[in-house]
């Protein structure tokens, strides 16, 4: 900074203040109440679209699985989905969300936990787990899981556009895993197969695909960018 420019610093600061306040007055922004209404609307539309897709693709289908097995697998997946939703989308008391290590831990731990739940279910109810599943069924069920997870992923990502200045890809990955966990809940309700291998390949592996998708979309959509003049 040159000596000659120093005296103009307060004037420049005042000019900047006036410019910013004028711009703020010119472009109104949503208040907290407005924002909450928008979030509720997006969440309702996302949930409605997801449930419609679930019902439109066959809905509940227990097959030969006992009710206890369905309750066990759906229950664990539901708990995982609820915890992840709270962790990745809930209020953390900070404007910058949860810390990177916490989100990464949640992302890394969830898929193995869901796989262990599938293995436990096949151990507790061996008769239901013995059914033979064609490899084509793995692929179709997995594709359906990814498709069903895309809607909740978008519903979770869109309200947070341009709001993460710290770790947008990690937040996106956590949101992807959250959408994946909700997909596992639906998969255990709609898929008639109790085979452990099928549950891992067609229900749990798609959560990893949704996590990768979430990380990519998070980087694209969530990060704070310079506004071009």
């Amino acid at each position: 900074m040159s000596t000659s420019s120093r005296p103009s610093a307060p004037a420049a600061a005042a000019e900047l203040r006036a410019r910013v306040l004028a711009e703020v007055a010119r472009t109104p922004s949503p208040t907290r109440a407005d924002y909450k209404r928008r979030i509720m609307l997006v969440a309702a539309i996302g949930a409605l679209a997801t449930v419609s897709l679930f019902l439109g693709t066959g809905g509940m289908s227990p097959g030969t699985r006992p009710v206890e097995m369905i309750a066990f697998t759906v229950g664990f997946a539901l708990v995982a989905a609820a915890v992840l939703t709270r962790l990745s989308s809930g209020q953390s008391g900070s404007m910058l969300g949860r810390s990177r290590p916490l989100l990464l831990t949640a992302v890394v731990v969830t898929a193995p936990v869901l796989a262990v739940v599938a293995l436990c279910a096949s151990t507790f109810w061996p008769h239901a787990a013995e059914d033979h599943v064609e490899s084509g069924a793995h692929l179709a069920c997995g594709a359906m899981s990814v498709l069903q997870g895309a809607l909740p992923l978008l519903a979770l990502l869109l309200p947070k556009r341009g709001t993460d200045p710290v770790h947008p890809a990690v937040t996106g990955a956590a949101l992807g895993m959250t959408a994946g966990a909700w997909t596992v809940v639906m998969a255990y309700m709609r898929c008639p197969h109790g085979n452990a291998m099928h549950c891992i390949v067609a229900h749990v592996v798609p959560t990893l695909i949704l996590t990768a998708l979430g990380a990519g979309l998070g980087w694209l959509l969530l990060r704070v960018r310079t506004t071009q003049p």
């Binding site: 900074m1 420049a12 910013v20 109440a33 924002y35 008391g93 290590p101 710290v166 960018r225």
Partner: protein
Amino acid sequence: MFMLAVLDSSGKPPPSGLAALRDRTLAVTEERSRKADPASSALDAAMDRYARGDDSAFGAVYDGLAPRLQSFLLRYTHDRAKAEDVVQQTMLKIHRARGRFTLGGQVVPWAFAIARRLLIDHHRRGGREILAPTSDDTLTQLLAAVDAPADDVAIAKEVAEHLANELARLPENQRVAFELIKQDGLSVAEAAQVLGTTVAAVKLRAHRAYEALRVVLADLGTDTKRKGEP
């Protein structure tokens, strides 16, 4: 919190269960925050008013944040126009996202994180004039203002140059943690939020930076003694 105290003293039954726990936690958090840094708490309160729809509160938010942000950005850009540009964009992003500001949230780490990200984004888009931070300008201004003997000024300048060089050599994560805490006046918890990591990680990074700078100071002390020997 004041509202809660009024309600309690008015004879109404206190909230029970989870609501009571939440209220107590919020009260303790607010109390700690207020004790820790009254200026930051006043800023958070102003931002909260702004988020609720009080448009006049933005002036207070701007006045509390802009000088600190500008000082932070000037250290990296060495260009007042560029720093002002990023300050303007940061304040406008805060304005546009005011609805997201949660009750009990902290505006200072949020603003620093946005400014830091915009600075990095600006650099990636071709703002090559952004340099590694040095304190030469500040040092020159400071030394000019100090009425000290010429020898002392020369030694102080040499020490400061060595420290600045060492700081520039540190890994980025250590340097940024050190600067946010020591030069921008953020608490360790606030710096952890800005960097998206844990408090323990920031403490470790800042400690390593302190240790590196302490070694430089020790070496300089030894050199000075040697120079002073006959």
